[in-house]
């Protein structure tokens, strides 16, 4: 742990500094952590936040990708008055989360936005039941979210301010043949995030569940029959917009709402005949 304030430091001004507002959000309230930031929507979110002058901490397992991202964004962030910090961490390592969270929040001097964008979806054959692979999905999509989400929720409760965003999926709406555990993990995310939202509403903290449709990322590479495909950048724009409007659950792009709602209404005996 690092000490930012020295007991002997020259500090005589009694007025706590408060920089002027920029684009509606005060500068001091632009501090974000993005978990799962090395690629896809996570990286796109970091890019947009950096452009907006946020002090953003980008976390992911792959250090190389993070360094590339940092090198790309540093001038952009600096020009906008923000900064990008990167840390290589396995999102599913619940034991490592508290120390890393503390280090980052103290470094940022607080936290206004927490985004959990880590998620895995291994390729799966229809007849395959690979327990190891399945449990590793739960580790990242569920255990990691709980480890980090609990830390953020606790901090936000005590500061009675903040926004928590979880990137779930339309896959969580039904249990589909293709990805049983992935769908179940996303359903877990939806329910966990809803419960956090209900808890934190008492202290005016917002929790936003994002259900992306098809987004052009590594996860959808090589998939067939994709439609309404949007870029990760466009998804990031819509995600931040939804979080700022304090939307509870947002399909990205919005028209997936109709698909999601329809899919949820299909009776089970019909749904099992469908092939997706």
């Amino acid at each position: 742990m690092t000490e930012t304030a020295s007991p002997t430091g020259p500090r005589t001004l009694a007025i706590p500094p408060r920089p002027p507002d920029l684009q509606g959000i005060p500068v001091g309230e632009r501090r974000a952590i993005v978990v799962g930031a090395s690629s896809g929507m996570g990286a796109a979110l970091v890019r947009q936040l950096a452009r907006e002058g946020y002090q953003v901490a980008a976390l992911a397992r792959r250090a190389g990708e993070l360094e590339t991202l940092k090198a790309e964004l540093e001038p952009v962030a600096r020009a906008a008055g923000g900064a990008v910090t990167v840390r290589a961490v396995d999102a599913s390592d619940a034991g490592a989360a508290p120390a890393m969270f503390e280090e980052l929040v103290l470094g940022l001097g607080g936290l206004d936005l927490f985004i959990y964008a880590a998620g895995v979806m291994p390729k799966l054959e229809r007849t395959e039941y690979p327990t190891d692979k399945d449990l590793s999905v739960l580790d990242v999509n569920c255990a990691g979210l709980v480890a980090w989400g609990n830390l953020a929720a606790h901090l936000f409760t005590t500061q009675r301010r903040g926004t928590l965003v979880g990137i779930s999926s339309i896959a969580g709406d039904r249990g589909r043949k293709g990805f049983p555990v992935y769908c179940a993990s996303k359903a877990f995310m939806n329910t966990y995030l809803e419960a956090l939202r209900n808890r934190l509403s008492e202290v005016d903290v917002h929790v936003c569940t994002i259900k992306p449709g098809f987004v052009d990322t590594a996860m959808t590479q090589g998939m067939k029959g994709l439609f309404w495909l949007i870029s990760a950048e466009e998804a990031a724009r819509q995600i931040l917009s939804a979080a700022r409007k304090r939307v509870n659950t947002r399909y990205v792009p919005g028209r997936w709402f109709f698909v999601g709602t329809t899919i949820k209404l299909i009776p089970s005996f019909v749904f099992r005949k469908l092939n997706f």
Partner: protein
């Protein structure tokens, strides 16, 4: 779960999970429960994220100190977090919250002496001792501060003029120093440390045991009467008149009053009942008899009342509320003296839970100045006029009488105090700080002082000007002696003294 007879061996399962998940670097290394939290002053106008450690006993407290020292982190001592400003906020360091280290170790019903762990609150204490016929000698306007917090800030009550501060009621304490050593201090043994740690805002060590004197009472009720006053001079004259016979005196001031009504308000006079005055002490000396009602008019939950106040939390609304209190005070003053429970009289700030939320997200500051009796009238008249001239009027004003005490950094003196609550918003913050700085110059020119449990606005040069210079130097020398590495630190310490 699987059937234990046929299911997989639980140990093997645990092992399998372990192998999939890399072990955390230092599992459960902190002895005391800890979490990263936003730690703020009670007034919500200042705060910072910190790791908060909540030791439950001396071993855990010591472990927290050792651990923080090893990690090179400072420790900000905190009790219930009732200080309005930054006295228990430690930006960039850790916070040790001793509120869970709070058992009552003993109470002698013959002498009224209580032995307390640091986290015992005033509420825990009075509820424990009242049925035995005692009441704490000194209580604050809220019952939630801990014994350690009350000692560190050397809090006072509405009877400061008669019995002194919380520190005056302390016989002895144990203090955990930065070295890890626990020392006992009282008026004979380690007497300098005794007089410096009380009111030393936690900068010399952490209280681990406090021996406190309490007062014998013959009833769970007091006799209370009200006096309506038309201006500040009248209020001060009434105080002086009542001082020799009253046990408690508190003045409320409508800060919106102007000209000949400047400082208009209402005095409440409290007097303990003598033996025999209460026909049924066994009934009034119960905790149930003291309880503040949880609902208003029997239906409206008190916990939601702050929402009703919120729309009035502006200059217009507050001038209305203050004015209506002046009028209702005039009616109250015509009443004959009436009986009120100790808790009902003492803990005015607990009537509306979380009333501070009515002030909005920016919170509030309380600006409380202490001024010698010779200059008080002139200084407070000037303060109120300055508030009106600036257009920044306090929404609540409270007036009290004080007496000197022997503690090194005491705020109390033979004089008066005037506490003013100001609303803080992002827009007015800078102007308010400037305003307070101007008020501070007026107070200092009248020989006044300030109180660390309330302060958020003083500058280092102003803080240095307010103490007899000898006292401050002795305190800083003790800090150097007992905590040379600067382990104990808070925002307050850094703001006012760290560079001295």
């Amino acid at each position: 779960m699987s059937d234990p007879r046929t299911g997989p061996d639980p140990e093997a399962q645990a092992l399998a999970r372990q192998m999939r998940r890399p072990a955390s670097p230092e599992p459960g290394r902190a002895a005391a429960p800890s979490a990263l939290e936003h730690v703020e002053g009670w007034g919500m106008a200042v705060g910072a994220p910190s790791r908060v450690l909540r030791p439950r006993n001396l071993d855990e407290l010591r472990a927290a100190v050792v651990q923080s020292q090893r990690d090179g982190a400072t420790i900000g001592p905190r009790g219930s977090g009732c200080s309005y400003g930054d006295a228990s906020v430690n930006q960039g360091g850790r916070v040790v919250d001793t509120s869970r280290f709070g058992r009552i170790l003993g109470f002698d019903a013959a002498t009224g002496v209580a032995e307390l762990e640091p986290g015992v609150t005033i509420k825990d204490l009075w509820q424990h001792i009242l049925p035995k016929g005692y009441w704490p000698k000194v209580v604050s306007g809220t019952m939630f501060p801990t014994a350690a917090g009350a000692a560190s800030m050397n809090i006072h009550g509405k009877n400061n003029f008669a019995v002194g501060t919380f520190g005056d009621a302390i016989r002895e304490f144990d203090l955990l120093l930065a070295s890890g050593e626990v020392v006992t201090a009282n008026r004979e043994q380690n007497s300098e440390l005794f007089h410096a740690a009380i009111g030393g805002f936690g900068m010399l060590g952490l209280f681990t045991r406090i021996v406190l004197e309490t007062k014998k009472v013959h009833s769970g009720e007091m006799e209370v009467s009200a006096i309506s006053t038309r201006n500040l001079g009248e209020m001060m004259a009434h105080f002086e008149q009542q001082k020799s016979t009253a046990d408690y005196l508190v003045g409320w001031i409508d800060c919106f009053g102007k000209d000949e009504q400047l400082g208009r308000g209402l005095i409440h006079v409290g007097r303990y009942l003598k033996p025999g005055e209460d026909p049924t002490p066994e009934r009034t000396l119960t905790v149930e008899h003291q309880e503040l009602p949880s609902r208003i008019l029997g239906v409206f939950p008190k916990s939601e009342v702050w929402r009703l106040l919120a729309p009035f939390c502006n200059d217009f609304g507050m001038s209305l509320i203050n004015r209506s209190k002046v009028w209702s005070g005039m009616l109250e003053a015509r009443r004959k003296p009436y009986r009120q429970s100790h808790a009902g009289f003492a803990f005015l700030l607990d009537y509306v839970p979380n009333w501070k939320w009515a002030y909005g997200k920016g919170g509030l500051i309380q600006y409380q100045s202490f001024v010698p009796k010779e200059t008080a009238h002139a200084v407070y008249t000037e303060l109120l006029k300055h508030c009106h001239w600036r257009g920044i009027t306090p929404y609540l004003g409270v007036f009290k009488r004080h007496r000197p005490d022997p503690f090194l950094l005491t705020h109390a003196m033979d004089g008066w105090s005037f506490a003013m609550d100001f609303r803080v918003t992002p827009e007015n913050r800078e102007a308010l700080w400037k305003h307070c700085s101007e008020l501070t110059d007026i107070v200092l020119s009248g020989g006044g002082r300030f109180y660390f449990a309330k302060d958020l606005v003083l500058r280092a040069d102003q803080a240095r000007a307010m103490f007899p210079s000898d006292n401050l130097e002795r305190f800083l020398a003790l800090k150097q002696e007992y905590d040379p590495a600067g382990l104990f630190a808070t925002n307050l310490w850094r703001r006012l003294f760290a560079s001295a």
